[in-house]
Amino acid sequence: MGESAFEITINGVKLVLVFLLMVQMVPVLVWLERRGSGFIQNRFGPNRVGPLGLMQLLADAVKFLTKEEFVPKAATKLLFYAAPVFALLPGTLAFSAIPMASPLKWGEHTFLIQGYEIGVGIVFILAISSLAAYTILMAGWGSGNKFSLMGALRASAQTISYELALGLSIVGIIMMYGTFNLTDMIHAQEGALQFQAFGYTVSSGFLPNWGIFYQPLAAVLFFAATFAESNRLPFDLAEGEAELVAGFHTEYGGFKMLLFFIGEYGHMMVASGLMATFFFGGYNIPWTTTEQVYQWALGLTGSADWGSALTSAVHFGMFFAKLAVFLWIFIWVRWTLPRFRYDQLMDLGWKTMLPWALANTIITALIVFVVSQTW
Amino acid sequence: MRAARVVRMQNVDLFGPIGLNHYLILSALLFVTGVAGVLLRRNIIVLLMSIELMLNAVNISFIAFGKYMNKLDGQVLVFFVMTIAAAEAAVGLAIAVNIFKRYKEVNIRFFEHLKG
């Protein structure tokens, strides 16, 4: 955690801040989703409460908090109450492990702008998000409602099917950068496109050194799989008004429903953050390195401490810009594409994405091996 | 009883710093819990779960030995055990589902007539 009591305190506060950041983004995202859907579907969306309908968020929060506390008679109370709480966990824990800016060096202290750094970052995030299936099952079975249960079975089957494609699509990236550590990956994507092959150096001035130019297939597969993981539309088979009511959260209302909401948006944020980290250079500004930004900040402020702080702030802004782009794509896709049928979903996952991800893994392995040879 | 005497003889400090012994004892306790589950429970799915518990217990001691002997072979073996366990669970569950479809029951008492 840290060496001195001061660092430990700061790191503890940081964890809380990351959590609050994630939770506070949810109302903004909900507003964006509703206004965005209005924009896409050529209608207004919420625009009555406050400027641009922004106060709608507060009104919604008050509504959620004052709703009736309801438990179905047939429900298993323990699981029914536990599920929404557990729904928060995977998103929060995984989001804390994503680096959001370059480390802040203040005097002799170094603060990472992320909840905690884990050497095997990717494995940790995958492991944590694989636990999401439990909340769905607990909610579905605990509700004591057959539609909830069917929705939960569908949703969790979908989640564990797409986890395979998700995990395999990242293997190419891991092999290419030779690390599980997210910070190391971001460092490998600094500057303009440049790599070494067969003893030659290939470089390009007009492309940033992003992972997507090395692993385009992996990027597509990963992004598609994260849609399925977060149960968003083209893959929101967990819900279905005609057949399953609202899926596993049919019986939930008020604050408990809100927790599921936060969980879903947390998944989206983790997916967007990972997308930015793996394929779009993380917190780095395109075409520049962390060092260049630091030198610029140093020239501007004239002190090492403030220079480092400014660098972190700039990188933080960049990370959030990238995050926002992917979150917008999530919303955009949701209101543009029609949904799949369940068998189409399973076919896509097992018969299309899994083989492509495997092929990507094998081809990447071969290329990494051949390129690393010196002949 | 015998265990207790060995403790006194070798003068192992249980409540001091954590060593290999602690992990091995934890592993042994979990393993025995698993054995008890396999032998005493009647639900076929709980039997499978108890087997998983036993495999996990073994994994703990593999990793602990690996760490305290400075070798990675333990981790490789855990890798293998995990694969086998996943495969075993898949087969076991498929059989359990078939049995349930046929007898509408997962209590092993109902298909003891497979005994020769």
């Binding site: 995958l126 492991a127 | 015998r2 265990a3 979990l30 008890a36 518990l53 690996g66 002997m69 855990v78």
Partner: protein, 174 residues
């Protein structure tokens, strides 16, 4: 009590209690959730032992896939209570005694063995490169076992599909 000691006892108690829950709880769904908890605890124990990659794999494979399958099957059957959770009779009594005996034997073995082993054994500190060497080991010394496992998995995948093939639904043969 140092942080390491505290962490070990916390995780040990968590694992043991949830492990006992698997065997003692009558409702198989709770027992499956207990087992999932045990898996998470075991994974955390791996992490405290420095095997971070294996800890992650443990979570992904056991807690994320195998146990979800168990929970799904149990919820599909919806077995809230069982006719007889435990087996009764003279045989079971003998089994209980035998289990205690096994425990005693194992513990005795643990103490006898480790005190013989523990001279000059120091835990390895550097785990930064462990994953890489783990991979290297897997594909050199243990490559035969690895390939054999691959074949085993293929066989099992085909076998399970054959076993569980449904006689209806969208993918049925007409």
């Amino acid at each position: 009590m140092t942080a390491d000691t505290f962490l070990f006892w916390l995780l040990a108690i968590l694992t043991l209690v949830s492990g006992l829950g698997v065997v003692l709880v009558a409702n198989p769904i709770y027992s499956a959730l207990c087992l999932a908890m045990t898996m998470v605890g075991v994974s955390a124990i791996f992490a405290t032992l420095g095997a971070l990659f294996i800890a992650g794999v443990q979570m992904i494979v056991y807690a994320g896939a195998v146990m979800v399958l168990f929970v799904m099957v149990l919820m599909l059957f919806d077995l809230r209570t069982e006719i007889a959770t435990f087996s009764r009779g003279r045989f079971s009594g003998a089994v209980k005694i035998a289990v205690v005996g096994l425990l005693a034997g194992l513990l005795a073995g643990v103490f006898a063995m480790t005190t013989a082993l523990s001279d000059g054994i120091a835990p390895s500190a550097d785990q930064a490169d462990a994953t890489k060497s783990l991979g290297a080991l897997l594909f050199t010394k243990y490559v035969f076992g690895f390939e054999a496992l691959g074949i085993l998995l293929l066989v099992i995948a085909i076998g399970v599909v054959g076993l569980a093939r449904s006689k209806g639904g969208t993918h049925a043969k007409r």
